[in-house]
């Protein structure tokens, strides 16, 4: 049966003139791919634009932050009352603003402890008054005013009364103690019951004020209790206020230990890019396919029992107990009639009689079983099993 048919010769050169046709057809054939690529590119541009675009100031306690934890409200109020608020972005700006102002007040909120001792000390020396909000241990140590940390305000005292003789707290009245810190040393105000430490501590003869809560200055809570009064009286005595929130760039790296980058030899910088180049070459090597794919025309194949399965699901969805019973009964009778050789024209009663005769059972009992109409699914299951058993009994005789 195997015979070598005439062979066909094709030269590679004949393909050259088809190249231009192929190139124009490329876009049409890869329409879906091109559309997907365009959508992905558009999405990428959108995301990058959203990421790189200018964002609102979200730094807590910032004078530009209009959110609940910002301090824009208090800065604007102070500004309206003749206090020049200088927002210092970094240490240099803060120092310059302090030196330019007349008896300036410094507000310092160093949440992460970016400032080191010498810088803190020179800031404190340049400022007339220093208000420190929720300072850390290192900050207090560096300022060296005899004020120490004394834990957090207990939950039992959400509102703290002034309880001291200083004029500002007395004028302001009660403030919220929620998520505030306590400080000990100097003159303390807003003490919780049974504690000598307070939310506000004043040391250095009034030149250093420590406030253990940001809520007092925040936009969100400025209008509750005596917050506004305390904030304005604390920050407002001098005509110049330098508002300084140290950031990562204020970290003095001069004396810190050398980073991994400094320790590694020079060639490490070139290893990564070169390995990327190797990876690209490997991709080009493995990614280049040996010619186009070949199509496999797949024939249609359907599972034959699918129709019966579908009908079974229809029966079940509509709870067709009667229909199922009729089918099972008819099938059982046809098979019984075959076993009992009652002939093709036999009626149901004749088949039942023959089965009863063979098994030696009362005809009535068999007739009741075969003609039963199960009302529920549970009964249908039990009945169909009984029918199955009957068939097996007849078959085994």
């Amino acid at each position: 049966m195997t015979g070598a048919a005439p062979a066909s010769v094709v030269y590679g050169g004949t393909d050259a003139d088809q190249a231009s046709v192929r190139r124009t057809g490329w876009v049409r054939r890869h329409r879906a791919f091109v559309a997907c690529a365009a959508v992905v590119a558009a999405a990428l541009v959108l995301v990058l634009w959203a990421q790189l675009g200018p964002k609102g100031d979200a730094v807590p306690m910032s004078v530009h932050n209009a959110g609940p934890d910002g301090a824009r409200a208090v800065a604007q109020i102070l500004g309206r009352h003749g206090v020049a608020v200088h927002d210092a972005g970094n240490y240099g700006a803060a120092m310059a603003a302090l030196e330019a102002g007349s008896s300036p007040t410094l507000l310092l909120y160093d949440r992460n402890g970016f400032l080191d001792g010498p810088r803190l000390r020179s800031l404190a020396a340049s400022a007339h008054r220093v208000v420190v909000v929720s300072p850390r241990l290192q900050t207090l140590d560096a300022l060296d005013a005899g004020i120490r940390q004394a834990g957090v305000v207990p939950d039992a005292s959400p509102v703290l009364e002034p309880g001291c003789s200083l004029p500002d707290p007395q004028a302001a009245g009660a403030v919220s103690g929620e998520s505030g810190f306590l400080y000990d040393g100097g003159t303390t105000c807003y003490r919780p019951d049974g504690s000598s430490a307070g939310l506000v501590a004043v040391g250095n003869g009034g030149r250093l004020t420590v406030v253990g809560s940001t809520a007092v200055f925040s936009n969100g809570q400025l209008d509750s209790l005596g917050h506004a009064a305390l904030a304005i009286r604390t920050l407002g005595p001098s005509p110049d206020l330098v508002w300084y929130i140290p950031a990562l760039e204020d970290l003095d790296t001069g004396g810190s230990p050398a980073s991994l980058d400094d320790l590694a030899p020079d060639w490490v910088r070139f290893l990564g890019p070169w390995l990327v180049l190797v990876a690209l070459a490997a991709m080009a090597w493995r990614g280049r396919r040996l010619g186009p794919l070949v199509f496999e025309p797949l024939p249609i194949v359907v599972k034959a029992a699918e129709t019966a399965e579908g009908r079974a699901r229809l029966y079940q969805d509509s709870r067709a107990v009667d229909q199922a019973r009729d089918n099972l009964r008819a099938g059982a009778l046809v098979r019984l009639s075959g076993h009992l050789r009652t002939g093709p024209g036999a009626t149901a009663d004749q088949v039942i009689d023959a089965a009863a005769g063979l098994l030696g059972k009362p005809v009535r009992e068999l007739r009741e079983l075969i003609n039963e109409r199960p009302g529920t699914e549970a009964r249908l299951v039990a009945w169909s099993r009984e029918l199955d058993t009957l068939e097996k009994e007849v078959k085994s005789r």
Partner: protein, 430 residues
């Protein structure tokens, strides 16, 4: 254009000078040298414009057997071609070594043998072959895909061949030729031969015995030169898969066994694949042996998603055979369509011919019938019962019209159909 693994390795080695003299200048220099090496190698590679392919068509093969496809690569250029060839057969052709290294000196040609082990019946194709020609350094290569159509016809496997010896034996028994001690069961007088012990005494020809000194018996043989017309249904119902095989494939197996058996039995065999038009036709009248013609005709058949045109079938049968014939309809008995199509046509054919309807029964239905554990199982059993009752009703109606029905599970259908043929032949009804 393609690069080799060797080039990637070279790029990796390029890390050494870069690390020894860590500087952007070194990086640029090393990259430049690598790129230049690749470019030179690419330019030095044998051009593929002057390479031609000559394909020797592998011809025919039965399913699951192996065959070699030969491709001759001719290099008419001036440089030695070193590279890789991929013979792009479609996946079901089962190419074992589709990608091979080749080396063709200038002006010579080399033969590449690809071993195919097809896993699907039908005409399998290889639209093109791809050549990759490396330069002398084996760093970079030119690549070209050359249109070079090849095709391989995969024939039906004829698994039912294993039933052939036993069925042929039965046929010979009918003929009276086999060494069993019974009379030939046919109706046509064949010849006289000497009595051997154990022969039926009723077949002794006394007149001939009287003329000779020895006892002589008559032998009989079944009628010969009858016509068998097999009609294979290739419509939508034949696409159904039963037991890892479509109805179409099972029908082919049955038709092959019956065709070969009937030919040995001395009958004329015609085969017709039909849905709304004739898809294939073969028969004893053609050139060459019957089995070869049948498998050639069946190989490219696929189930078509259209309804069978039953009213056109009698005319097709008449076109094949004008005389009384055995007409075998290889189709399905599932509910719905047969009442309108199959039954009236079979009844009409039965008035002139002997008609046998052969259909595959799904063993899955029997399994569904037995599982009655819960409500789902019972509903499935009821649905299976309904399908089987419908088949039984259609079979009964066909039998009423004098049509014989062979309704069997896939592996049983070919031998059962053969048995039916032998029974009809023995009865002398053909």
């Amino acid at each position: 254009m393609a690069i080799s693994g060797r080039f990637v390795l070279l790029v990796l080695l390029g890390v050494v000078p870069v690390l020894l003299l860590p500087d952007w200048g070194t990086v640029l220099l090393v990259s430049g040298v690598l790129a230049a090496l690749a470019a030179v190698d690419l330019l030095a590679a044998a051009p593929l414009r002057t390479v031609s392919l000559l394909r020797t068509q592998p011809g025919n093969v039965t399913l699951h057997a192996a065959v070699n496809a030969v491709l001759t690569v001719r290099n008419d250029g001036g440089r030695r071609l070193r590279g890789v060839l991929r013979d792009a057969w479609q996946p079901s052709a089962g190419a074992q070594n589709a990608v091979q290294d080749i080396e063709v000196p200038a002006g010579e040609s080399r033969r590449v043998t690809v071993r195919l082990r097809p896993v699907r019946r039908g005409d399998l194709r290889a639209p093109h072959a791809t050549l990759r020609s490396f330069g002398p350094l084996l760093l970079a290569a030119r690549q070209k895909t050359i249109h070079s159509p090849g095709s391989l016809r995969v024939l039906p496997p004829f698994h039912s061949r294993r039933h052939l010896p036993s069925k042929l034996r039965k046929l010979r028994e009918l003929d009276g030729k086999a060494a069993v001690q019974i009379r030939g069961a046919g109706t046509e007088f064949d010849s006289l031969r000497d009595y051997v012990r154990g022969d039926d005494v009723r077949s002794i020809d006394w007149r001939a015995t009287a003329r000779r000194s020895a006892v002589v018996v008559r032998t009989w043989r079944p009628e010969r030169d009858r016509r068998v017309v097999m009609v294979l249904d290739t419509s939508r119902t034949s696409a159904a898969r039963i037991d890892d095989e479509t109805r179409l494939d099972t029908g082919m197996e049955a038709a092959l066994l019956l065709g070969v058996l009937a030919e040995r039995g001395g009958d004329r065999v015609d085969f017709l694949a039909f849905d709304r038009r004739t898809r294939a036709r073969a028969g004893s009248a053609g050139q060459g042996n019957l089995l070869g013609q049948l498998v050639q005709a069946m190989a490219p058949l696929e189930a078509e998603l259209i309804e069978m045109d039953w009213p056109a079938v009698p005319a097709q049968v008449r076109a094949v055979s004008a005389h009384r014939s055995l007409v075998v309809l290889l189709t399905s008995l599932d509910g719905g369509a047969p009442e309108e199509g199959l039954i009236p046509v079979a009844a009409q054919l039965a008035r002139q011919h002997v008609v046998v309807v052969a259909a595959v029964r799904d063993p899955q239905l029997g399994t569904m019938l037995g599982v009655r554990g819960d409500a789902t199982g019972v509903y499935r059993a009821a649905a299976a019962e309904r399908a089987l009752l419908q088949r039984a009703a259609i079979s009964a109606e066909l039998r009423q019209h004098g049509v014989s029905v062979v309704d069997a599970e896939p592996h049983q259908l070919p031998p059962r159909l053969a048995d039916m043929y032998i029974r009809l032949k023995a009865a002398g009804t053909l």
